[in-house]
């Protein structure tokens, strides 16, 4: 199950701090999945007023959340299970995102050596081209040790 290219993301049926992407376009070519997600940073999104009360900055961890939601939308369920983060190999923030900024997240996913896992490499930038974050994350269906 995949989101059609260009479909707006606005529904969640899983726990998430906010809707971290407004739009998503997904493409697949020879087993490699790429997607571009975008979001206008909004001061009235959940948690935003508290980060911080006198000056709002998009939490860096919400960029990781955006990648997660993009991966869920791009890969879809497998036997009713959503893909989830298994390992954050590296995560680096380089510029803040403030209300009014447009966040652009470009990601490439390839199947990893384990059959049910994927390696995602992503770059996040502001619309003005400023790099905001780089991420390398392993996703898989299900996690070990769940309750």
């Amino acid at each position: 199950m995949r989101f059609p290219a260009g479909q707006k993301l606005c529904e969640k049926n899983f726990a998430a701090p906010l809707c971290a992407l407004d739009h998503l376009e997904v493409h697949e070519n020879e087993g490699i999945i790429t997607f571009r997600g975008t979001k206008i940073i909004a001061a009235d999104d959940p948690y935003m007023a508290a980060h911080f009360p006198d000056f709002t900055i998009f939490p860096g961890v919400f960029i990781l959340e955006a990648l997660r939601q993009g991966v869920i939308a791009a890969l879809g369920e497998c036997h009713g299970i959503l893909p989830e983060i298994r390992t954050v190999r590296s995560l680096h923030f380089s510029a803040p995102l403030l209300p009014g900024d447009e966040m652009i997240l470009d990601a490439t996913m390839e199947r990893a050596s384990e059959q049910d896992s994927f390696e995602a490499v992503a770059a996040c930038r502001r619309k003005d081209g400023t790099a905001a974050a780089r991420l390398k994350v392993e996703f898989g269906y299900g996690k070990t040790g769940s309750a």
Partner: protein
């Protein structure tokens, strides 16, 4: 060896610059200044991250988001740094910024009703850069291990300067001095 220090919720919320909805540490169970800390956070189904989850979903859809798990751990580490360095209101024009992490392994999930125990270790502090490692447990299950997390202390003015021109223009009516003078939670 230093004397263990514990913080209650009121002390935690005064120490962190975050507003209430984003304070993701409920109390500090123990802390050895400059060395390590154990921070506690209880997960409940009434939190904001669950507000859009439909009724009747399977339990796995209620796993506490990894993004918030990481933020909660980061705040625990921040409390260790803030208390170890006696950061006070006079330092309010500085912010502790999470800048990078490596080798975060997610080994399990946490759900409403679980209590997170974040165990953070201060590996190194160089001038304005802090290196932390640690683990997060739920009872006897380790659910996350943090290979390395790095935070830096920066003047808020520098953070503002690095923000986009468009975003800064949206703050019509607020000068930089006004923003700095109102940032006094730390």
């Amino acid at each position: 060896m230093g004397k263990p220090v514990a913080l209650d919720y009121a002390q935690v919320s005064r120490a962190l610059p975050h507003g209430r909805a984003m304070v993701l540490v409920d109390r500090v169970e123990s802390m050895e200044l400059g060395v390590s800390i154990v921070g506690i956070k209880a997960i409940t189904g009434t939190e904001l991250c669950y507000q859009d989850v439909p009724d009747g979903v399977a339990l796995d859809r209620c796993a506490y988001p990894v993004s918030l798990l990481l933020e909660s751990f980061g705040q625990t580490a921040a409390l260790l740094w803030l208390r170890s360095n006696s950061v006070r209101c006079e330092d309010a024009n500085r912010v502790l910024m999470f800048v990078s992490a490596r080798n975060l392994k997610i080994e399990g999930s946490a759900f409403p009703g679980d209590v997170l125990s974040h165990r953070a270790h201060l590996e190194k502090a160089l001038d304005d850069t802090v290196f932390v490692s640690g683990e997060t447990w739920v009872e006897d299950r380790r659910i996350m291990s943090v290979g390395s997390m790095i935070a830096v202390v920066r003047p808020l003015s520098q953070v503002l300067d690095n923000a986009s021109a468009g975003a800064r223009q949206m703050r019509v009516g607020l000068t930089q001095d006004e923003v700095l003078s109102s940032f006094d939670k730390i």
